[in-house]
């Protein structure tokens, strides 16, 4: 059976989730929907990212970020979540670590919240439904 090694072309392109030194970028996924969390997780791990933790609401997200600090390179943050919404969580994380790289995940129709987040320091945003190419594009752009 042929393995990846047999198809060098696949390996030619370095995985986007890896630093030049080969270590993966560590991502915290905050989303109240298991489905979205999984989806993002799959997209990211397939590119070599390391999803170090997930959180189901804003509050948990903030706590995990602080707990892991400085072990998280990027956070994907859902906007509408129970307990604490994504914009508040974003504010709290930025207040804790102003270098934090956060990408907002938003459904259509939440333009104003996306704008608010961007002004508060979010690096970028992803629109649901998720599109693999765009998700990677925006997350990579945010890591630059």
């Amino acid at each position: 059976m042929k393995t990846k090694q047999d198809f060098p072309s696949i390996n030619e392109r370095p995985q986007q989730g890896k630093r030049p030194d080969g270590t993966p970028y560590r991502v915290l996924v905050v989303d109240d929907s298991m489905f979205v969390t999984k989806q993002i997780g799959q997209i990211l791990t397939s590119e070599g990212f390391d999803v170090v933790a997930t959180a189901a609401d804003g509050q948990e997200g903030v706590e995990k970020y602080k707990e892991l600090y400085p072990g998280v390179d990027l956070v994907t943050m859902d906007i509408t979540m129970p307990k604490m919404d994504g914009v508040t969580a974003l504010e709290q994380i930025i207040a804790f670590d102003k270098e934090a790289r956060i990408v907002m995940v938003s459904a259509l129709g939440k333009q104003d919240l996306v704008k608010k987040s961007l002004l508060l320091g979010a690096k970028n945003y992803i629109v649901k439904p998720l599109d693999r190419k765009k998700v990677l594009e925006r997350i990579v752009a945010s890591l630059a």
């Binding site: 333009q111 704008k115 961007l118 002004l119 970028n124 945003y125 629109v127 765009k134």
Partner: protein
């Protein structure tokens, strides 16, 4: 948003309001010029320029509703300017209503709110002016409608010099200002987010000073195909281009250095800009359209506006002028001063410095004098002591047989220079004193000129309020169906700013009175052999330390008999009282007096001319009226040039000193106590054939004094028709009195207008004559009421 051009910047806003008011005034006055002379190209240009500047300013301070509305007005004016639309009466009305909306928007903003009322009628009327250009081809009207694409396209290219300077001020030192023009992709599902996303990205390395469209608009959920960001940064934005190009979001980015108006120079390595061509203002292609057509189209539409105008009524017109002015007064801490006046002051200040140096020299000279004096004095004393000490010896010698002549000679030899010892000192001192006197005189002159110079800084031409009358008169004459011509003279006459602010209301009142009660309707005028159009004139002139303002009309004049009858009906005067015509005229200033037969919405609502009188008196001025039946009426207002310094008559009561404003002093008398007569419990005194009631200031202010001196001094104060005598202990003299306002808990003391510090450092209180008169009048009325009660019972 601290790095954003702060719309709450007070200084900036203040400047904006001052400028906006000027523009609005220019707009209004020139529109009125157009009404009479529709072909006046200068006026049209002037109007257009004012509207344009106003729009630019409004956009800078992010008053979007104002910017948008003014933009529409500007478009309409452009049509007129280019001659594509001709001016009709409806056009003028529409423009005037539009200006009222602009004023209201400004007022609303100044009160911290945003104008929210419906403007659809006006907007529709304005659009109809625009459409007047080609009603047959509705498509050509499209560019006029402020669709986002055209408005951004046209605005992105024009940054006024003012706006540029604002940006420059906002940018930190050393930073370069760039314009970053970004085209966004419309196919992005969240295409309205891009504007903010770029804003956030630009913020990473620069200060975003301004965006077109404005920040608030970017925040709205609307797609803007192109946004121009004006940023200030020390870095080269080209290096950040990668971060700014967001796939899916941005289409193209154009970065240019901004170094002046309208000349953005591309930054090295700027990408060519594919977008421009597409956004080139569509308006230019749509412009050359057939000329005006039918008056019908442009006439029909302004109609609602005209109705609205009538509905609002002329009464509101005056209200509007007032509130607007009050607003000015609040924000009006900015004063435009002719630079020559400042130069003059500087000159005087340098003279003061020289003067100070002279005083230093004099002080040194005095010190020298003193030293000389001391040494001479010591010499003198020593000699004198010697003299006394040696006197017994000389006596002894005389007794011993020496001839007195011989002794005297010896004494003279020894003490001969004693009397002349001080001669040199005397000369020195005299010279120093002369120099001192000279320099002090100089100081007096400089202080006087400084006082005048500083005062002149506060002086503004009366045209500032006169300029409001053309519109007022126009609106009033329309609502009353009278034809009126307004003449204005002496606009350049200058007055203290604070006085001018309080003068507007009384003047409006007088003019309103003239138009409403004075000028007859055209038919009546014709019957009386007068021209259809009545004339109201406003005239200002200087008269010594006073300003004279006359409001004259050629209307029906005051009906003396009607006034007299009414005064008797109202109980203002006794039926038997003989009144001269002048006295009768001036009765119209009595509270609650209105001779209008029916109440109109212009005047005659009970708020009478007494208000005018009170306000003028508050300014230490006087108002009189003169009239000739059938020929017209003239209101004469006299007010001092300034309120800060007045001429005062200083009087003494007990140990206290009071200043009575000389403008209200009629004359003064020295009377014997026996000349004071009593009528119904109060003291009166006969001046020629007049009886004047007296007030003892000592009693009024509860000051201990000798109540029965040999003589009393009586100062008669008041106006020609209401007088009162103030009993004081003595008169001190006239002096320039600098009024210092009294603070808080003193301000309620009736009869006191303020305090003054006299030359010797004492404080004297300044008497408020009008309040005293009122006090006296009230007392009189109470007494009369009491008396009538007693008689009745």
């Amino acid at each position: 948003m601290s790095d954003y051009l702060d719309p709450a910047n007070d200084e900036l806003l203040k400047d904006f309001y001052v400028e906006a008011d000027m523009q609005v005034e220019t707009l209004e006055s020139n529109i009125l010029v157009l009404e009479n002379d529709p072909g006046n190209a200068d006026a049209i240009d002037e109007i257009f320029r004012a509207a344009h500047t106003l729009k630019g300013g409004a956009a800078t301070v992010q008053m979007n509703e104002l910017a948008e509305f003014t933009h529409l007005v500007e478009d309409a004016l452009d049509e007129i300017r280019s001659g594509r639309v001709s001016i009709q009466e409806g056009t003028i009305d529409t423009l005037l209503v539009a200006i009222d909306v602009i004023k209201a928007m400004l007022a609303e903003r100044q009160n911290g709110g945003v104008y929210t009322e419906e403007t659809t009628q006006v907007t529709a009327a304005l659009r109809s002016i625009l459409e007047g250009q080609a009603p047959a081809a509705p498509t050509s009207a499209a560019p006029a409608a402020p669709t986002p694409s055209t408005s951004t396209a046209s605005e992105s290219t024009e940054l006024t010099e003012y706006e540029f300077l604002e940006l420059k001020d906002a940018a930190g030192p050393g930073a370069t200002i760039y314009s970053v023009t970004v085209r966004f992709r419309e196919d992005n599902p969240m295409n309205s987010v891009g504007g903010i996303q770029l804003f956030a990205a630009l913020k990473q390395f620069s200060d975003v000073l301004k965006t077109v469209p404005g920040f608030d608009e970017l925040y709205e959920d609307r797609f803007h195909p192109q946004v121009v960001y004006y940023i200030a940064t020390k870095e080269n934005p080209e290096e950040h281009r990668g971060k700014l190009m967001i796939s899916d979001v941005t289409d193209s980015i154009e970065i240019a250095v901004l170094d002046g108006v309208g000349s953005p120079a591309p930054v090295a390595a700027a990408s060519p800009e594919p977008a421009r061509a597409g956004t080139a203002p569509a308006a230019s292609t749509a412009a050359p359209t057939p000329t005006p057509t039918p008056a019908a189209a442009s006439q029909a539409a302004p109609a609602p506006a005209a109705e609205a105008e009538e509905g609002s009524g002329a009464d509101e017109a005056t209200e509007r002028v007032r509130t607007e002015h009050r607003r000015n007064a609040q924000a009006g801490s900015i004063l435009r001063v002719d630079s020559r006046r400042i130069d003059n002051l500087l000159n005087l200040v340098s003279e003061t410095v020289i003067n100070k140096a002279s005083f230093n020299q004099i002080s040194n000279a005095f010190t020298d004098n003193l030293a000389t004096f001391q040494s001479v004095e010591t010499q003198y004393r020593d000699l004198l002591k010697d003299l006394f000490d040696s006197l017994p010896d000389y006596l002894e010698e005389i007794r011993g047989g020496a001839s007195p002549k011989e002794v005297r000679k010896r004494i003279n030899e020894r003490f001969g220079d004693l009397p002349g010892l001080f001669d040199g000192f005397h000369g020195d001192l005299k010279a120093t004193v002369a120099k001192f006197r000279n320099t002090a005189q100089n100081l007096g002159r400089i202080a006087g000129e400084l006082q005048e110079g500083v005062m002149r800084i506060r002086m503004v031409p009366i045209s500032q309020i006169f300029s409001r009358f053309p519109r007022l008169v126009r609106d009033l004459s329309r609502s009353l169906n009278k034809k009126i011509e307004l003449e204005i003279e002496g606009e350049e006459t200058e007055l203290d700013k604070s006085v001018i602010e309080d003068l507007l209301d009384p003047l409006i009142h007088c003019v309103r009175n003239s138009i409403d009660h004075g000028i007859e309707d055209p038919a009546t005028r014709r019957e009386n052999g007068k021209p259809d159009a009545g004339t109201v004139s406003l005239r200002a002139s200087n008269e010594g330390n006073m300003i004279l303002i006359e409001v004259t009309d050629d209307g029906r004049g005051i009906d003396v008999d009607a006034v007299r009858k009414k005064a008797i009906d109202r109980g203002v005067i006794h039926p038997n009282k003989q009144l001269s015509d002048v006295e009768a005229f001036n009765l119209i200033f009595d509270p609650g007096f209105s001779t209008a037969k029916e109440i109109t919405n212009v005047s005659g609502r009970g708020v009478g001319l007494d208000v005018v009188k009170r306000q003028i008196e508050k300014l230490n001025g006087t108002v009189t009226v003169w009239s000739e039946k059938g020929a017209g009426t003239r209101f004469t207002i006299k007010i001092p040039l300034t309120l800060a310094i007045i001429q005062g008559l200083l009087v003494r009561v007990g140990k206290e000193m009071y200043a009575i404003p000389i403008t209200s002093v009629i004359d003064s008398h020295r009377i014997k106590p026996s000349e004071i007569k009593m009528i119904d419990n109060y003291e009166v005194f006969n001046v020629r054939d007049d009886v004047v009631s007296l007030i003892r200031l000592s009693r009024l202010f509860r000051i201990q004094t000798n109540e029965n001196p040999d003589y009393h001094y009586v100062v008669i104060v008041g106006t020609s028709e209401r007088k009162m005598g103030l009993i004081v202990d003595s008169l001190i003299g006239e002096e320039d009195v600098v009024i210092k306002p009294l603070r808080d808990h003193f301000t309620n003391s009736p009869g006191i207008a303020g305090a003054n510090i006299t030359g010797d450092g004492k404080v004297s209180l300044i008497i408020d004559v009008s309040q005293l008169l009122e006090l006296g009048l009230r007392r009189e009325k109470e007494e009369r009421a009491k008396r009538e009660m007693t008689i009745g019972s």
